[in-house]
């Protein structure tokens, strides 16, 4: 497909018609600055092909200043070498006309025909969307989208596949993918997709089979146990029956009896030996007893001798004690007499002492009473004096403050008078002796000096009256002050009852004197009667009573007379008496000891005499000789018995030495135990049998084997099911793998031509690089040789710039593929390589130049310099006819 001419009217910024003609078959480069309408041209071409002329969803194509305009496009092109013309008007006067092959198609018919020819379809409704744009959508790169390719390839994939299919002349599986999908679905029902582990019905069956196996195993174990128990029961019954008949314990019982008899015999011998031993013991005891008795009798003779000695000793002791007693008796009587005399003398001395003391007490008491009476009298006198002094003191007493005030007022008056005197008028007289002068009615002496402070008349006889009017400042106030003081003083004097200050002072002095006198009187009084006069009187009365009593007591005492009363003091008498007493006590004690010794000696003597008598009596007993003879006989008999018994014991011991009682006892024990053991084993087996029977009965009722057979049937069924499902799962898995492999191999074959075209361009861009084509025909993994060796990465991992370049390269490869399949191709690159650096752009230009040998390519760019070596002249849109007819746009 080759564009020949494009005419645009009322399209966005182009209101006036813009016409681009003389399109080259290969490269066509349109350059214009940003926002100068270059994209609008591309957009108009897209709209012409992709948008239904009736669609109202493309109102954005209108010029911005005119909402009623009819955007229209007219494109002349050649398809398969034949000229065609498409004219479309939108929105306002909707119209579509396609003239091709000499036919003229109108409206939707024209649009659909075009879609079929170019490999795209229309949106059901509204504006066209990428998924409908098919091959042109892939080959016409919109601004900034060249690096996004997978999606647009997807939208064009049917067309591409068709193209490749045709080119290979090979049929793909009619519905291979659906087969794979069906196999996969079935496989996934039985196996997990990732690990192919059993799941769903298959998983369930395996689980159930395992469960059944376990259950069956349990049943088998139980059945086996049951069988073993049955066999055990049979064995037990057999043994039990045999034992029941043979009764082996009876033999043992017989053996036991024999052993018991043997043991009884042995035990009898032992008993006899014990009896014999007892006899021996008794005989020995008898021997000992007789011997002892004979020894005792021999001792009696010795006893008499001993007693006689003892008696003698007692007699000696008594004689000695009597000697002592006789010595002490006179000494004791002497001491008693001396003691009595000393006591009498002491009593007399004490009587004298008592009388003297009483007499002295009377004298003393009398003196005391006299002294106190004197003090009492003195005290009474002083008391009276004190009372009068106290009364006087009281009468003279003046309040201290009043006296002080009197002194002050007197002083104040004196001061006031002085002040007055200072300012008063002085009148000094030197009168003639006969002159009679009266001042204020008072006769004046010849040389008087007077002072006046008020109007004062001086009457001079015969002369008349001279009135003095004293002047001076404050005179009146001074007068008033003085008068005030005078008045206060007068009042004070009156209140105190004194004539003046001197009188008051005198009275005060007297008061102080009296008070001192009262104090002295009081001290004297207190010396005489410290507790008061009354108390003193009481004391006197008490002492007087005591005195009377003492006098009475003295009278009652007899006055001591005699020689002994004189010269011996009480203490001397006491000392003598005490000494006499000690001597007496000592004598008494010695006397008593002597008496005691005598009586003790007499008692000992008496005992010794009795003992001797008793001993002598024993020896004298006529029966004693007989007893002694008897004892001798008995000893002889006992010795004989002892010998016999010993011989018996020895004989029995000899007999017993050959018999082992312990072993015999063990025999009895052993036989008894064995018999019992057999019997109890028999009984035990009997009860075991009963228990086992009951147990088997209960277990048998469970129908274990039938249940196990049933379980086995279930398990077999489940085994069959598992096997079937496993085979099915394996088959499906196998089939799926095979199909997938075959499909992949086919896909590789199908993609080969695309791969070839892609490699062609890739070698120009990245020499030595390799690229895989993905299942969806978009570029996949790329391997490039860099400085670090070969590097492999997915297309999506490349930089934007590289993806952009690869995007263009891939599209050129698709175009080649489509062209080979006889499909129309046209490539439009609208600012498609903006992220590409200078070096790469250089390579890309080589790529584009190469592609332009086969395809018409429209390159729109805003960088004229970047493309100046593309090998074609750049055409500036501004130079096109009609450019500038519109208003400048604001996008």
């Amino acid at each position: 497909m080759k564009l020949k001419r494009v005419r645009i009217e009322n399209f966005k910024r182009f209101r006036a018609p813009l016409e681009l003609c003389d399109f080259a078959d290969g490269l066509n480069l349109f350059v214009a600055p940003n926002e100068s309408g270059k994209s609008t041209v591309a957009e108009a071409i897209r709209a012409a092909f992709f948008e239904r002329h009736k669609s109202s969803a493309i109102s954005g194509l209108r010029p911005w200043s005119d909402s009623s305009a009819t955007p229209s496009v007219e494109i002349a092109f050649a398809l398969g070498g034949k000229p065609a013309r498409l004219s479309k008007a939108f929105l306002g006067k909707k119209r579509c006309q396609l003239i091709i092959d000499g036919k003229t198609l109108e409206g939707a018919e024209a649009e659909d025909h075009l879609g079929e020819l170019l490999g795209f379809s229309f949106a059901g409704k509204g504006a066209s969307s990428p998924e409908h744009m098919g091959i042109p959508g892939l080959l016409w790169i919109k601004q900034g989208t060249s690096h996004e390719i997978a999606k647009v390839v997807g939208f064009a994939s049917d067309h591409l596949r068709n193209a490749m299919g045709d080119s290979l002349g090979e049929l793909a599986a009619t519905s291979g993918d659906e087969v794979i999908k069906a196999v996969e679905t079935e496989r996934n029902q039985l196996l997990t997709p990732s690990t192919e582990a059993p799941r769903g019905a298959y998983g369930e069956a395996i689980k159930r089979r395992t469960a059944l196996l376990e259950e069956l195993q349990l049943l088998r174990v139980e059945i086996n146990a049951y069988r073993i128990a049955v066999d055990r029961l049979a064995a037990l019954r057999l043994d039990h029956g045999q034992d029941g008949e043979a009764r082996p314990w009876l033999t043992l019982r017989a053996q036991l009896e024999q052993a018991q008899v043997k043991l009884a015999d042995a035990l009898g011998l032992a008993q006899r030996r014990t009896a014999q031993e007892l006899l021996l013991k008794q005989a020995s005891a008898q021997v000992d007893a007789q011997r002892q008795q004979l020894q005792l009798m021999a001792r009696d003779d010795d006893a008499v001798k001993l007693r006689e000695e003892k008696l003698e000793a007692a007699q000696d002791k008594l004689a000695q004690a009597n000697g002592q007693l006789q010595a002490w008796e006179p000494r004791h009587a002497q001491a008693e007499h001396a003691s009595m005399r000393a006591r009498d003398r002491l009593a007399a001395a004490r009587q004298v002492a008592t009388w003297q003391a009483q007499e002295k007490a009377v004298t003393e008491l009398a003196a005391q009473v006299q002294a106190l009476s004197r003090s009492h009298r003195q005290a009474q006198l002083k008391q009276e004096e004190l009372t009068s002094l106290q009364a006087e003191t009281l009468s003279l007493a003046m309040p201290g403050a009043e006296l002080k005030r009197l002194r002050e007022v007197t002083e104040s008056l004196r001061t006031a008078q002085a002040r007055l005197d200072a300012v008063s008028t002085a009148l000094e007289f030197r009168l003639q002796p006969s002159a009679k002068v009266q001042v204020a009615g008072v006769q004046v002496n010849a040389t008087d000096r007077l002072t006046v402070v008020e109007r004062t008349g001086i009457d001079i006889e015969g002369v008349g009256r001279i009135t003095v009017l004293p002047g001076g400042e404050g005179l009146q106030s001074l007068i008033a002050d003085r008068d005030q003081q005078r008045k206060v003083l007068a009042e004070l004097l009156q209140r105190l009852g004194v004539a003046n200050l001197a009188a008051a002072e005198e009275r005060e002095r007297q008061h102080v004197q009296r008070a001192a006198e009262a104090k002295a009187a009081k001290s004297v009084l207190e010396a005489h009667a410290p507790k008061g006069v009354a108390a003193l009187a009481v004391d006197i009365a008490a002492l007087s009573t005591k005195l009377t009593e003492a006098k009475q007591a003295l009278q009652n005492l007899t006055e001591p007379v005699g020689a002994e009363t004189a010269g011996v003091s009480v203490s001397q008498a006491e000392s003598d008496e005490s000494t006499a007493k000690v001597i007496l006590e000592d004598a008494t004690s010695q006397l008593n000891d002597s008496k005691l010794a005598v009586s003790e000696a007499m008692a000992l003597l008496s005992v010794a005499s009795e003992e001797l008598a008793a001993a002598q009596a024993t020896l004298a007993d006529p029966l004693r000789a007989k007893r002694k003879a008897d004892a001798s006989h008995a000893l002889t008999d006992a010795l004989a018995n002892e010998t016999t018994a010993r011989a018996g014991v020895e004989a029995l011991a000899e007999q017993l030495r050959t018999l082992n009682v312990a072993l015999l006892q063990q025999d009895v024990e052993r036989f008894e135990r064995s018999a019992k053991q057999l019997e109890s084993a028999y009984a035990q087996r009997g009860s075991d049998i009963i228990r086992l029977e009951a147990d088997l009965e209960a277990k048998g009722a469970l129908g274990l084997e039938e249940a196990a057979a049933d379980k086995q049937r279930e398990l077999d069924h489940m085994e069959r099911r598992c096997t079937e499902l496993e085979r099915r799962a394996k088959a499906l898995s196998h089939l799926l793998k095979l199909l997938t492999e075959k499909r992949a191999a086919l896909a590789r074959r199908l993609r080969a031509p695309l791969q070839r075209h892609l490699n062609h361009y890739l070698q120009i861009l990245f020499p030595g690089a390799g690229i895989e084509v993905s299942d969806d025909l978009s570029p996949g993994r790329i391997t490039r040789v860099g400085t670090n060796g070969a590097e492999t990465g997915d297309f999506e991992e490349l930089s934007v710039g590289a993806r952009e370049q690869m995007g263009v390269v891939a599209r050129l490869a698709y175009a080649d593929l489509l062209q080979e399949a006889g499909k129309p191709t046209l490539l439009i690159l609208d600012d498609a390589l903006v992220h590409t650096d200078k070096d790469r752009l250089g390579q890309m230009k080589r790529v584009l130049y190469d592609a332009a040998q086969r395809h018409q390519i429209l390159v729109f760019s805003c960088h004229p310099h970047a493309w100046q070596d593309l090998g074609v002249a750049a055409r500036e849109l501004s130079h096109a006819p009609g450019y500038g007819g519109g208003e400048p746009s604001t996008p």
Binding site: A173, G176, R713, L739
Partner: protein
């Protein structure tokens, strides 16, 4: 004239694990029904007794219900039943017989011989039983038949369970031996045997009755009982086989090579009846169309027969060009199909065949309208 019905190996309580649940249940039930038929035959023929030569029960510990049902099934004949234990139901210390006895399930007219003691049946003949008291014995339990001194001149009939020495195939278990010529040596009028599941005459007076209801795929004349008439000890007994089985157990093996082989199997399947228990074993090769035919015939037969066991693991699939066209298996799917076909000759032929069948089925499903054949 003495007459009795000789039967054996009832194997009551047997579970047929190789079949599906419902089939197994029916075959389990069938054994009770066979006993009912035996009772009915005995009653119809007016025999003196029914002698059962062991293996009455399949196992010692069967369910109580099973025990009761058996004796209930015997109600149709009120004459004497003589039962001896065999190796499956030996009279052990504790056995199914003790249980039956404890349950009170054994009617008065049923004599269970747990000990080798002779007794007179119906006043007409002396029965010498050789009950098994162990699961397996290596002594001949019928030995005492020969040494037993009769106290009367009634004919004597022996009843035993085991293998008569030297006449059964070598692979049969040689335990529980019975000396050949025992009837002769013991002067018996008849020796009734059990253990061998098919009817088999050992000598003129010795017979295996076989099981009254077949239980395995062996053409050995099972599924019948023996009606025995004895005129006198000196004469040979008149033995007549009476059919008692319901189900017909059959086994069919077919090697497939050509299309007509398929047709033959299909024909056999088409001909099955409701009482058939069939085991099919296929080998060889067949194409997909043939396989589809077989599968369809099998489906139809399964709905008709009592039970069918199908064993086609040895069968190899050879899809023809027509098969492939029919399936529209083109492109890579076609390649996969071809490879699977070849893989059938490799190490895992079964896997390849299963995968091939799965692919064919899925392709069939994908194009139901254009599918060659259902």
């Amino acid at each position: 004239m003495i007459s009795f019905l000789h039967t054996a190996d009832w194997q009551i309580g047997r579970v047929f694990a190789q079949f599906e649940t419902d089939d197994a249940a029916a075959l389990f039930e069938a054994r009770f029904a066979a006993v009912e038929r035996l009772a009915s035959i005995a009653a119809d023929r007016g025999v003196d007794a029914v002698l059962v030569a062991g293996d009455v029960f399949d196992a010692q510990t069967v369910a109580e219900k099973t025990i009761r049902r058996l004796f209930n099934a015997m109600q149709g004949f009120t004459g004497t039943w003589v039962l001896i234990p065999g190796n499956h139901d030996a009279a052990l210390a504790e056995s199914v017989w003790n249980r039956a006895h404890r349950l009170g399930a054994i009617p008065d007219n049923v004599i269970v011989c747990l000990e080798p003691r002779p007794f007179v049946v119906a006043g007409k003949f002396t029965l010498l039983p050789a009950p098994l008291t162990q699961r397996h014995t290596y002594a001949d339990l019928t030995e005492w038949f020969a040494t037993h001194v009769p106290s009367d001149d009634l004919p004597r009939v022996g009843l035993a369970h085991g293998s008569v020495q030297g006449i059964l195939p070598a692979d049969v278990d040689s335990t529980n031996p019975i000396a050949a010529g025992r009837a002769q040596s013991a002067g018996l009028a008849y020796l009734g045997l059990g253990d061998w599941h098919g009817t088999k005459q050992v000598d003129s007076k010795t017979w295996y009755a076989g099981t009254p209801e077949s239980d395995r795929f062996k053409a050995n004349e099972s599924g019948q009982a023996l009606l025995v008439a004895i005129e006198s000890t000196s004469l040979e007994p008149i033995v007549t086989a009476v059919p008692t089985g319901k189900f017909n157990w059959r086994q069919l093996e077919q090697h497939m090579a050509v299309d007509s082989d398929v047709d033959e199997v299909v024909q056999a399947l088409d001909g099955v009846s409701g009482n058939d228990v069939l085991h099919l074993r296929l080998s060889g090769t067949c194409n997909l169309a043939g396989h589809r035919k077989l599968t369809a015939a099998l489906g139809a037969a399964r709905a008709k027969a009592r039970a069918i066991l199908w064993n086609a693991e040895a069968l190899r699939l050879e899809p023809t060009e027509e098969d492939i066209q029919t399936l529209r298996a083109d492109g890579f799917v076609g390649e996969a199909l071809q490879e699977l076909r070849e893989q059938q000759a490799s190490a895992e032929p079964e896997l390849a065949r299963d995968a091939l069948l799965a692919l064919a089925r899925i392709l069939d499903d994908q194009a139901p309208a254009k599918g060659a054949c259902a």
